[in-house]
Every structure is written in structure tokens, then in C-alpha cells.
Symmetry: C2
Subunit: 157 residues, 2 copies
């Protein structure tokens, strides 16, 4: 899985802790974790295209969350960064070569694709069931001082 997913998730939580009042530039979000600024920008663009964050150009510009954390699921972020296609894609090799059966006998889905699809569905179901707000709550339980630290570090000079 792409490394950008981790960056995007952390950035979303950071944005939430900073608050919706002001927009935060990608460069500043990147500096907080010493990430390549331009590349993080690329991931945030993906989030913007997916409608998870909104972006404004110019001075005092940057990114901010488009809606509350409780309305953003892990699935939303993963789909935005990784793309919509499934991890396991069936190439229908059962229809290739001498092993191919009669032409009309492939109406039903390949049993292997079905089985792998069920597993991937379980994965997606779990991703949908968890919102970023759930993650934030757990994070604050583990590190109660983190929100204040972040708010302070991102405070304008």
C-alpha cells in the first residue's frame, strides 16, 4: 500500500486539531513530520479532488477539512489516495488457452475472484465502519497532550 495513505491520515488529524479557522499550507504540514513538502502536496491534492479537504491558493492559503472528522471514513482517504480499483483483480485466465470452456459458460463470476472479493469486502467494510473521529478519540486517549502541542506548534507567528 502506498505510503501516502499514512501521510494523508496524519495530516487530516492534524488539520482537525488545528481547527477549521485557518487554512494550513502543505509545506507546513510536511515540516511537522519532516516529509517531502511537494510530495505531500500531491497527496493533499488527491484528497481535495475527492472532496475530503478544500484548498485555497495565495497568501494565507492552504488546506482545511471539508467536513467534520465524524463524516470522513478511513475508506474515503484510502480510496482518494490509492485509487478506486480493487487490490485483487481477476484477469479471467480461466478463459485463456486450451483450458477455456464453451463460450457461454462464464456467466457466473470466477469462484476464485469471488472468494478473494469477499475478503476484500471485509477489509473495505472495516474501513468504512471507522471514521477519523474514532481514530482521533483513541489517539487522544493515548496521548492527551498531543492536540495542545499541535495547536501550539501550528499557531501563527
Amino acid at each position: 500500500m502506498s505510503e501516502g495513505v499514512e501521510w494523508a491520515l496524519h495530516s487530516c488529524l492534524n488539520l482537525a486539531w488545528i481547527g477549521p479557522e485557518r487554512a494550513v499550507p502543505a509545506a507546513r504540514l510536511a515540516a511537522y513530520h519532516e516529509l517531502p513538502a511537494a510530495y505531500l502536496n500531491k497527496q493533499l491534492q488527491a484528497l481535495a479532488r475527492a472532496g475530503i479537504v478544500t484548498s485555497v491558493s495565495g497568501p494565507k492559503g492552504g488546506f482545511r477539512l471539508a467536513r467534520g472528522l465524524d463524516r470522513i471514513t478511513l475508506m474515503d482517504v484510502v480510496a482518494a489516495v490509492e485509487g478506486p480499483d480493487e487490490a485483487f483483480r481477476c484477469t479471467e485466465i480461466r478463459q485463456q488457452g486450451p483450458g477455456a470452456g464453451p463460450a457461454g459458460s462464464y456467466a457466473a463470476e470466477c469462484a476464485i475472484a469471488g472468494a478473494m472479493g469477499r475478503a476484500e469486502l471485509a477489509w473495505r467494510r472495516e474501513l468504512v465502519s471507522q471514521t477519523l473521529d474514532d481514530v482521533r478519540e483513541r489517539a487522544e486517549l493515548q496521548a492527551p497532550t498531543a492536540p495542545e502541542r499541535i495547536r501550539e506548534w501550528f499557531a501563527p507567528a
Copy 2:
């Protein structure tokens, strides 16, 4: 996900339908679906290392299943081909840069890694719960003539 997983799964089912009496060369398994023979051989080697199939060299050599389909799970095959590491790996960026908190405050797992881990656990759980025999059963319901076709095509000259 690697394409080899699909090839490996189909090959395992084919091996089961052929029967355990004789070993089947990788080249023959590949020809059945018009796959690159040498590359499929590589995947079968991975299955052999994982103990899913056994391999014998020389004339009349090839691969055969090491145990019954009901004792091989989808997880076994995926782990053998894809490797054991998780898809989402946490790089602990929370400990990098100015955002890093006090040194001893990272005993607990990163909340984001935990959430992604739960999703991946659901995926793995589903893969473990399905054996190749379950898949075979469904496949035979959809295409009852397949086993006989395969047995015949792989029959020795």
C-alpha cells in the same frame, strides 16, 4: 496485489482436479492458461518453499499438492506468494520532526496503525476462514464439467 496470486490459486485447483497420482510440470500448468512458463514456475517455487506443494525434478517430475485442499487456506497461498509483511506499514512519522513528543510517550501503538491494522485483520481473517476446498466446491457448482475437462486435458499421451 501481485498477479502471481491468481495464477497460484488456479494452479492449486488444477492440481487437485488432476489428482495426486502424478506430478505436473510447471510448463504444462502454464500452457493450460497460456501463461509464461518460467514465471509461473517461480510462483510454484514459492508455494513449494511454503510447504503447500512438493516438487520433484527429472523426467515424470513436477509439482503436486502437499496436502488436501481442505487443509490449504487462501491466506496460505497469499502469504506464500506475496510475502508475510502487512500491506499497510506504519513508518512512525509521529516520532519524526518537530511533532515528536517526549521520548517515552510512544509505548502504545499509533492509533492510525491500529485502525488500519484492524481492517487488515478482517481481511486476513476472511482469507483464513476460506479453504481451497470451499472454492473448489463453488467452482464445481458453477461449472460441473470443468473437473473432467481438466483431468482429460492433463491426461498423459
